[in-house]
């Protein structure tokens, strides 16, 4: 009998989803209740994950198809907390657009369940199942504001392109299966030693599929449209949570089944990384919509994360995880600011709407200042350290080209962050925005800004947390 305690978090969250669905059917106007219960479920799941699996050394379940190790537990907890924060600050936005419905939190929960399965997967089939579960929930979330043309368009675009990439992924999986005769990662890893031509195709297809999911260049085309069209709270969820799961899967694929084929995939990852960093920096310059700009900036940031993965070293993997965690906090802060740009039930999302914000809302502008400089990677803010660790790992492997290109693109990227700061601080002021924000919105903004600002005082803690991740 398998030790089911180890997958208790997944079991708990699935049972909760079913319970909430039934509750939604029987209770009229139960959206508020569902919302609160979902929040509670996310928290409880995080606690269960922490209690049951955090201290356990690597264990596999169900014929090696599910793996529970330190990295999986850590990433699950980050995912759950990210989803919790993304959900808790979205209530007033959803109410304004009259999409505060029972389905919203349930869809978030299902996608989180999918991500948890992905994170723990040690088998192509399990991985694909988790991926589809999270993707299907995300398609619906993207179209959630279905009365708006843009939202429907975003969902449809996302669905079509994502289905295509899933197809590629599945094709890659089948090629790999054909070669190794197994879907299990460890067995694949033992079988794949050769330099077979077709094998490279399999790897490329899988990497393309994964690159699509994390929107790395040149598979990023969906991101700007989807980010712009989706409801802001969903965009927030998109930029924070699915990336963590996708990154974990990326790490697993590269360093378990494909470990022996480093020569084949390393160049691909370096290319994806450089292309994302450069393109993300350059393409964001001309944007006027903040959400669209965030989409391009997130492409750039994914480039830095991939730079860490490209090193094929434990330090590199750890630095990528640090990067994505810090990025998550910065994103949360940025979106909290964005959700505060509300005037009489209308939300504003153009850069021009920020004009002269510092006159009327000095504290909000100060937070934005800190966040934007941190995103640009200026010391002593957290964003600098994120980049610093990545480049430290990159330079350890003497990959100078990657480091120099990456750092030069931070200069280009700094330009568009500075442009927003310029609009906030140097331009003429406009009308005031509402200030009656929910407690949680203020809370998340304050806490995340303070974390970004004061990270440099205690930089060792985060390193300690990730330093136990030793994949290779």
């Amino acid at each position: 009998m398998e030790n089911l305690n180890l997958i208790l978090p997944e079991i708990f969250i699935s049972l909760s989803i079913m319970f909430l669905l039934i509750l939604g059917v029987y209770k009229k106007e139960g959206s508020k209740l569902t919302f609160n219960i979902s929040l509670l479920v996310l928290l409880i799941t995080a606690v269960i994950t922490f209690n049951e699996t955090f201290a356990i050394s690597r264990t596999t379940l169900f014929n090696d198809s599910v793996v529970i190790d330190y990295m999986a537990s850590l990433m699950k907890i980050i995912t759950l907390l990210g989803a919790f924060l993304a959900l808790i600050i979205s209530s007033s936005y959803l109410k304004t657009f009259k999409i505060f419905k029972i389905e919203y939190p349930i869809l978030i929960l299902s996608s989180v369940l999918g991500m948890m399965v992905m994170i723990s997967s040690n088998d192509l089939m399990v991985f694909y199942m988790g991926l589809e579960l999270q993707s299907l929930a995300l398609y619906v979330l993207a179209t959630f504001n279905r009365d708006q043309l843009k939202s429907s368009e975003a969902g449809l675009k996302y669905f079509v392109l994502s289905a295509l990439s899933s197809g590629l992924l599945l094709y890659g999986c089948s090629l790999i299966y054909g070669f190794s005769g197994s879907t299990n990662f460890n067995i694949i890893s033992n079988q794949l030693n050769s330099n077979e031509y077709v094998l490279t195709f399999g790897i490329v297809f899988i990497l393309v599929g994964l690159a699509f999911k994390i929107s790395a260049v040149p598979f990023h085309m969906w991101a700007p449209d989807v980010y712009q069209g989706s409801p802001t709270t969903v965009t927030l969820f998109f930029t924070m949570v699915p990336k963590i799961a996708a990154l974990t899967v990326f790490i697993r694929f590269l360093y378990v089944p494909f470990l022996n084929l480093i020569d084949q995939w390393q160049m691909i990852i370096i290319f994806l990384s450089i292309a994302s960093m450069v393109f993300g920096a350059v393409a964001a310059i001309g944007q006027t919509n903040i959400k669209r700009l965030i989409a391009y900036s997130s492409i750039g940031h994914i480039g830095y994360t991939l730079a860490g993965l490209a090193t094929a070293s434990n330090e590199g993997i750890q630095s990528s995880i640090i990067y994505i965690s810090i990025y998550l906090v910065m994103n949360l802060a940025l979106f909290s600011c964005l959700l505060m740009l509300r005037r009489k039930d209308q939300y504003y999302e153009d850069i021009d709407n920020l004009s002269g914000l510092s006159k009327n809302h000095p504290l909000l502008s100060l937070c934005l200042l800190v966040i934007l400089f941190s995103l640009a990677g200026i010391p002593p803010l957290a964003g600098f350290f994120a980049k610093f660790y990545v480049f430290k790992a990159v330079l350890e492997q003497s990959m100078y080209f990657l480091a120099i290109v990456g750092l030069l693109s931070t200069v280009v990227a700094a330009f568009y962050y500075l442009r927003i700061i310029k609009v906030i601080y140097f331009d003429k002021e406009k009308d005031k925005y509402d200030t009656d924000h929910s407690f949680w919105l203020k809370f998340s903004l304050t806490v995340s800004t303070i974390l970004i600002l004061l990270y440099f005082i205690f930089p060792s803690q985060l390193i300690e947390v990730v330093s136990r991740i030793n994949i290779i």
Partner: protein, 493 residues
């Protein structure tokens, strides 16, 4: 361990800024905020004076060292000073309170925020001069961009946005390569601790690229020709206090960096690249002096003269002679005092007439005599008249240069003449001549605070011009040891 005096120097302005942050912002002349800021910076100045008194001049080793683990097993927060850095720290703590007094007239709105920016700037600048770990140095070096960007952008002139962006992006572009070099040094030598690196030395085969990476950052910040173009723009648009900080202290970070890191860590590469530095310095001295002659805007003229003066500094540093390096340090201190004073002088007339064009002035000597006298003093100091601190620096640098390379020294001496030409011509056009613009008649002479600031700057300018021994004694042993270490490391490899 003793009382962490350097950390308190770094932290005190931030504490002051935090205090200001929690006070209420008032419109107009916010006296409370000014007094708080002034108090903080004056206390900081007194601490730094105490530091100078208790500083042991007879040794070149680093003093007041604080060493704490910062990032486990990787970086230590390490600060300490030697004879070279202490002068820059005192310069910083001396100039900042004067800046704060001077904001009376130039900054009209959001005074509290302006003072916060200046205070944060001060602590970053002190940090740069104390840091004994490359990463800590980089952190302070880069972090200074944020407050300066805001100072230029929020409180600057009409073209402030362009200037602020140019300043920020130029400097950042130079600095990222230095970051690559710093991390590479960590992997090559196993540490980023400057004292340990001094002892270990860095393998000669890596030095050239590392030197170039550091150079790219310092050359932009110095600024050296041809990457100096951000400086005139930044100076012209920045408010007076911003220009003063920029000219007096920010530019010195690079000169300090050249001495501390380029010479200290990469002697072989420095030897190879000395001709490059010589060429760029000489071009900077002659070319920007000529440009300065043609300027119609007073601030721009002084900005170009700064580039020329910094050309002397880089020239002196890479002579690797006792006199040359000492001269460079004194020139930097002197330029810190004099250029600050000149920008304040321009600020004085700008506050009254709202014009920086030379042509809109002329014949003001009879209207505002006190101002004219002080302005003359600083003009003469800028062109290096004997008896002012400018002379000591330039003289020593040229002496060092003549020892090392005759041709370069001759051309550089030409710069002294050109310097005299543009400064005197500026003074003549502004102060003497016929009074054409009748609006000038309404000008009032220096008020108390302006008088006080300019006198404060005039006293050390004259004092160190006549009696430079306190400066030379402080730096002598450190410079001597630096050159010895340079030669030993050079021969070892």
């Amino acid at each position: 361990m003793n009382f962490p005096i350097l950390s308190s120097l770094i932290l005190l302005p931030i504490v002051g800024a935090l205090f200001l942050f929690f006070t209420k912002d008032k419109e107009g002349n916010n006296l409370t905020a000014k007094y708080v800021a002034l108090f903080t910076t004056v206390v900081n100045f007194l601490i730094s004076i105490y530091l100078w008194i208790s500083f042991d001049q007879s040794t070149s080793s680093f003093q007041f060292i604080e060493d704490r683990t910062w990032i486990e097993g990787f970086i230590n927060y390490k600060v300490g000073i030697d004879g070279i850095s202490i002068l820059f720290i005192i310069l910083t703590t001396f100039i900042t309170p004067l800046c704060i007094i001077s904001v009376n007239n130039s900054v009209k709105n959001r005074l509290r925020d302006f003072l916060i920016a200046i205070l944060i700037m001060e602590s970053f600048m002190i940090g740069v001069f104390c840091a004994l770990d490359l990463v800590v140095f980089y952190l302070f070096f880069e972090a200074g961009l944020i407050p300066m960007f805001l100072i230029i952008g929020i409180w600057g002139g009409p073209k402030r946005v362009y200037s602020a962006f140019k300043f920020f992006l130029y400097t950042l572009l130079g600095s990222v390569l230095m970051l690559v070099a710093i991390i590479s040094i960590y992997w090559i030598a196993g540490t980023t601790d400057v004292i340990q690196l001094y002892e270990l030395g860095i393998d000669a085969k890596y030095q050239n690229l590392l030197w170039l990476a550091f150079f790219s950052s310092f050359a932009v910040k110095t600024p050296m020709w041809p990457v100096h173009t951000w400086l005139p723009d930044a100076h012209v648009e920045a408010p007076t206090a911003g220009s003063v900080l920029l000219a007096a202290i920010l530019l010195k970070m690079a000169g300090y960096g050249f001495i501390r890191f380029s010479l200290g860590l990469f002697p072989d590469a420095s030897e190879i690249f000395t001709p490059l530095i010589y060429t760029l310095s000489v071009i900077a001295i002659v070319f920007t002096s000529l440009i300065a002659l043609m300027q119609e805007d007073m601030k721009k003229l002084i900005a170009y003269s700064s580039v020329a003066h910094m050309g002397f500094v880089t020239l002196g540093i890479f002579t690797i002679q006792q006199q040359g390096i000492e001269g460079s340090i004194i020139q930097m201190i002197s330029h810190g005092l004099v250029s600050a004073a000149l920008f304040l002088c321009v600020g004085v007339v700008y506050d009254r007439m709202h014009s920086r064009l030379i042509s809109s002035y002329g014949g003001i000597v009879t209207i505002i005599p006190k101002y004219s006298i002080l302005f003359m003093l600083f003009t003469l100091a800028a062109l290096g008249l004997p008896g002012t601190s400018g002379f000591v620096g330039e003289f020593l640098i040229l002496m060092g240069a003549f020892k090392d390379n005759f041709l370069v020294a001759v051309i550089a001496s030409l710069g002294v003449i050109l310097g005299a030409a543009y400064m005197l011509w500026l003074y003549k056009r502004v102060v003497f001549g016929k009074l054409i613009n009748t609006d000038l008649k309404s000008m009032v002479d220096l008020n108390k605070s302006e008088y006080f600031i300019l006198t404060c700057l005039a006293i050390p300018t004259l004092f160190f011009g006549i009696y430079p021994d306190p400066l030379i004694n402080t730096i002598e042993v450190s410079v001597n040891d630096l050159i010895n270490m340079y030669n030993i490391n050079l021969n070892n490899n």
